[in-house]
């Protein structure tokens, strides 16, 4: 029994407990309890991880435990984490914790809602704690499917369309991933050797270059769909806009990172040569994604769509950073995963709360809300400032690192890409400030809005948690970039750099 197993077992037990709950009070308290426990567990995990590293153990993955699953095929449930997955686990538990409190008043079919939400989260946790490709894929798929129900049943607007679009596009992504994984599996060992799905063992064997070239697009695009790779990001704005609050938070905050993590951990780590050969193409797509997402956000009038397009832009920046193949950019990209995860969760939480009061998300129908709900308004402004990369917040450090790393490539191609991508900083500032100006500042447009209430205690808790971590990471970015993930970048970098 490994400590890491708890990250899947606790959600599972929470789900079972919710099955027996009698009313909404019990349901939400069980969910809150389970997810608080999860938050504590991930804090413990961070401490344990730091202790292991402090003890001088320099393995690529620590706490590795091999649980046999399908021995005849050598598919195992191999647990193991490194700094990157530890920080993403922490991110997930923060977001789901906040998500549970953000959906405190989910009245209709509350049991089913919390069960689907927590199953979704357990898929994400499972993905991050395993290092066996088969097990990772099982958890990955597990995370994709409850989305359909969550958006379809509890969503708003064209929810059926969005839910179907999202599910099918992500499943098409899995289609690509399956081919990639099986390709890796059947080339994971020299002729006649024991085939394996274990990341570590595969990484010791050099997959032939022509095979890498064949498989790389499958894996990159497959995970890229979830990571909002242009032009396959179109599920994201619709899906995020239609989803209920907690789901948007979890999806934009964590699930999209699953895509980027998959790109990093599987496509880039296992197929480094192909990454070099084909990186340029995907870099172009990522650059387009950054600018396109930001421009898209300017054009939108619905708060959720604005934030969804902004997520597309920010997630494309993660891919952009990963494709730079150098330490500072990848460091920045991973920090961006964490920082954007919390930031966008905060936005979606706030939008959900504001929508719950005003019953509109159209920015032009609102105005002066800062006067009515100072707390939520202020939190939105802080989130906005973090999002546009104001120093002192997490977004700034991440973007700095990415662009610094990107600009250290001396060739024209990378320079142009970097300049274009960096222009998104300006565009981001435009859409954030525009939105804040229109709906938070100015006169109150709708007389009904005058009597709205500010945040309740659970909303304060949800928003407060997220704000706390945004500020913490902004203040101590080196805790993430150096202490947590510092050691873990080396193996991937080594493989990616060795080709130069």
């Amino acid at each position: 029994m490994s400590f890491l197993m708890l990250f899947v077992l606790v959600p599972l037990l929470t789900v079972i407990a919710i099955l027996f709950s009698k009313n909404i009070r019990q349901t939400r308290w069980i969910a809150a309890l389970g997810m608080s426990l999860q938050l504590i567990l991930s804090a413990v995990l961070v401490v344990m991880y730091l202790q292991i590293r402090a003890a001088g153990i320099a393995d690529d993955f620590v706490m590795v435990k091999n649980l046999s699953w399908f021995p005849s095929l050598n598919f195992n449930l191999t647990l193991g984490v490194d700094g990157i997955s530890v920080s993403l686990i922490a991110l997930t538990s923060i977001v789901i914790f906040a998500g549970v409190f953000a959906s405190w008043q989910m009245e209709s079919l509350h049991r089913e809602f919390f069960i689907s939400l927590i199953v979704l989260a357990s898929g994400v946790f499972g993905f991050f704690i395993t290092i066996d490709l088969f097990a990772m894929f099982v958890f990955y798929e597990l995370a994709v499917i409850p989305m359909y129900l969550l958006i379809g049943i509890w969503g708003t607007g064209p929810k059926e369309y969005s839910a179907m679009k999202l599910t099918l596009m992500l499943m098409a992504g899995s289609a690509l991933i399956i081919v990639g994984l099986l390709g890796i599996y059947f080339h994971s060992a020299p002729e006649g050797g024991q085939l394996t799905m274990n990341l570590l063992e595969i990484s010791r064997y050099k997959i032939p270059e022509n095979v890498q070239n064949f498989l790389f697009p499958f894996l990159f695009v497959g995970f890229g769909i979830l990571g909002a790779l242009f032009p396959l990001h179109t599920w994201s704005p619709d899906g995020h806009a239609s989803a209920p609050t907690a789901v948007s938070m979890l999806h934009a905050g964590v699930l999209m990172k699953l895509g980027s993590y998959g790109v990093f951990r599987i496509a880039l780590f296992l197929l480094p040569q192909a990454a070099h050969n084909q990186g340029a193409l995907f870099l172009i797509l990522a650059t387009i994604g950054i600018v396109y997402g930001a421009l898209g956000a300017i054009m939108q009038k619905d708060l959720k769509y604005i934030n969804a397009y902004s997520s597309v832009s920010h997630c494309a920046l993660i891919l952009f950073g990963l494709l730079m193949f150098n330490r500072s950019a990848i460091d920045g990209a991973i920090l961006q995963m964490i920082s954007h995860g919390i930031m966008t969760a905060l936005f979606f939480a706030l939008i959900g709360m504001i929508y719950g009061r005003t019953h509109t998300r159209m920015i032009h129908e609102m105005g002066g809300l800062l006067k009515v709900m100072p707390l939520l308004g202020a939190a939105y402004i802080i989130g906005g400032l973090a999002s546009l990369g104001l120093p002192g917040f997490s977004g700034f450090v991440a973007e700095m690192l990415v662009f610094f790393g990107a600009f250290s490539h001396a060739d024209t191609f990378h320079r142009i890409a970097t300049v274009l991508a960096a222009s998104s900083i300006v565009i981001t500032a435009v859409y954030i400030l525009r939105v804040v100006g229109i709906f938070l500042m100015g006169p109150i447009k709708d007389e009904h809005h005058r009597h709205l209430t500010d945040a309740t205690w659970w909303e304060k808790l949800s928003v407060g948690t997220l704000l706390l971590f945004i500020t913490l990471i902004g203040m101590f970015p080196s805790f993430v970039t150096e202490t947590l993930i510092g050691n873990s970048l080396a193996p991937a970098l080594e493989r990616l750099m060795s080709n130069f």
């Binding site: 099982v138 059926e160 599910t167 099986l182 059947f186």
Partner: protein, 474 residues
């Protein structure tokens, strides 16, 4: 000899004894006690199913015409599980007026077809194989036309009979050509007597595969499927779609892997092309279906296409995966049919739009249906994911990455129409959903078994490992 006959053919003999017992009991018991015959059959068949799991080495009879090995027994066990579930599910339908007076005939015919499948699987010779196939398929026409007071059921019976006759013609012609080419009907001799594929063998193989493709309703031999499935009573449809199909898939596997491995160059591409056509056409037609039976019919055509992925390379992994896939498919499809059956018996509704808002009134039926559909489309953590993934693994092992890709894209298409049903049950608003349905205990226990199976047969690897161990010994 007598002793070995008893021991080697014990499953066949057991089944025949049960079948005859039903026949005799039905003759002698009074009208009021007819329901007891059903219960006795159910119990006996349950024991028969369990007894199949006792380890047994098998053997050969009649100079090689009939042979059985642990692998064959495993296949029969998988079919037994399915038939047992079908029997459980048929209880509520068998007591309906105009059916109840001939309910024991139903049991007898059903078990007879199963015995045909046994012989077909255990055949060591084309003649035995052919006899088994016919025993399995002719009574099925009777089953299809069982509700003969409904014109659609009659039509289904005739359609099945005619198509079945046609396909048998093809098959028999193929077999006779094999005899011409090899001078023998015995499987063992056959693989020795011809080592090089000749045009005659290619022709024979074409006819044989077309015949089997009819039975397995592979595109382009699938035209009978939807009409027959729609017209037949729900129980019979479920029997067609899982047991009949599963047994033919097994036989196809045995023939290709054990009898024709030398001609892999001839049939590999055929299987490849059939797989793509079947998955694609099955899925595309399923998209537009309004009737739940037709819907499941086309979905089962598509599933048959997936089965072919396991047949591309002659190794034990392929055959294990097929057996495993068929088991999971039996469980999932029967769960879906069970729910449809419960609704159809209680309300007579068989259209997908009647399912709108079902979750409000029948949460457990809706959940079972959802699980079954997720399993059919291959979503974890339910078993369907594992069986599909292993099929893809088998195809990838043979080097067919493009085929794997096409297949997975097809699962995405399939997911769309499976989700339409989920959407109907959970999302679509309906002011007048179907009333709460309380099905009888037989159906409920059948659904319970399928749900447990759907959950556990995948995640718990011993199921798959057990099959792999048995097939490896073969």
């Amino acid at each position: 000899m007598t002793y070995s006959l008893l021991s080697i053919m014990r499953q066949e003999l057991g089944l025949i004894v049960i079948t005859l017992l039903v026949l005799f009991l039905d003759l002698f018991v009074r009208e009021t006690n007819k329901q007891k015959v059903y219960i006795i059959t159910l119990i006996l068949f349950g024991i028969h199913t369990l007894a199949g799991f006792f380890p047994f080495e098998g053997g050969t009879l009649f100079g090689g015409m009939f042979h059985t090995t642990p692998m064959h027994i495993l296949m029969k066990n998988v079919l037994n599980i399915g038939v047992f579930l079908v029997l459980l599910m048929s209880a509520s339908w068998l007591i309906m007026p105009r059916i109840s007076d001939k309910r024991n005939e139903f049991l007898m015919i059903l078990l007879t077809t199963l015995s045909g499948m046994y012989f077909m699987i255990s055949a060591g010779d084309f003649l035995m194989f052919y006899i088994g196939l016919e025993i399995a398929s002719i009574p099925m026409a009777v089953l299809a036309a069982f509700e003969k007071f409904k014109s659609r059921s009659e039509e289904a019976g005739i359609k099945f009979l005619l198509n079945s006759a046609l396909s048998t013609g093809f098959l028999l012609f193929g077999l006779s050509l094999f005899y011409a080419a090899g001078g023998t009907l015995y499987f063992d001799d056959f693989s020795h007597s011809i080592s090089q594929p000749s045009p005659l063998v290619a022709l024979a193989l074409t006819f044989l595969l077309s015949g089997l493709a009819f039975k397995l309703s592979l595109v382009p031999f699938h035209f009978w499927t939807a009409d027959v499935y729609e017209g037949s009573p729900m129980v019979v449809t479920s029997y067609f779609s899982v047991i009949s199909k599963g047994s033919v898939a097994f036989v196809l596997g045995i023939l290709l892997f054990k009898v024709f491995p030398a001609f892999i160059g001839l049939w590999q591409f055929v299987i490849y092309a059939l797989a793509i056509a079947t998955m694609l056409i099955g899925n595309l037609f399923a998209l537009r279906q309004k009737n739940i039976k037709r819907f499941l019919a086309f979905s089962s055509i598509a599933q048959a296409g997936f089965i072919l992925l396991g047949l591309l390379q002659t190794d034990t992994f392929g055959i294990t995966v097929i057996i495993y896939f068929v088991l999971i498919y039996i469980l999932s499809n029967l769960a879906a049919f069970g729910v449809a059956q419960a609704i159809s018996v209680a309300t007579g509704k068989e259209n997908i739009e009647d399912y709108n808002g079902l979750y409000k009134t029948n949460p457990s039926l809706s959940l079972i249906m959802m699980l079954a559909l997720f399993s059919l489309s291959g979503i974890p953590p339910v078993a369907g994911f594992f069986s599909k993934f292993f099929l893809f693994t088998a195809a990838a092992k043979a080097g067919y990455y493009r085929l794997v890709f096409i297949a997975v894209v097809n699962t995405t298409i399939a997911l769309y129409y499976y989700l339409l049903v989920v959407k109907a049950m959970f999302i679509n608003p309906n002011p007048n959903p179907l009333p709460p349905i309380r099905s009888d205990n037989y159906l409920r226990s059948a659904l319970f078994i399928t749900v447990v199976g759907i959950f556990l047969a995948g995640i718990l690897s011993p199921v798959f490992e057990y099959m792999q161990a048995i097939v490896d010994k073969f």
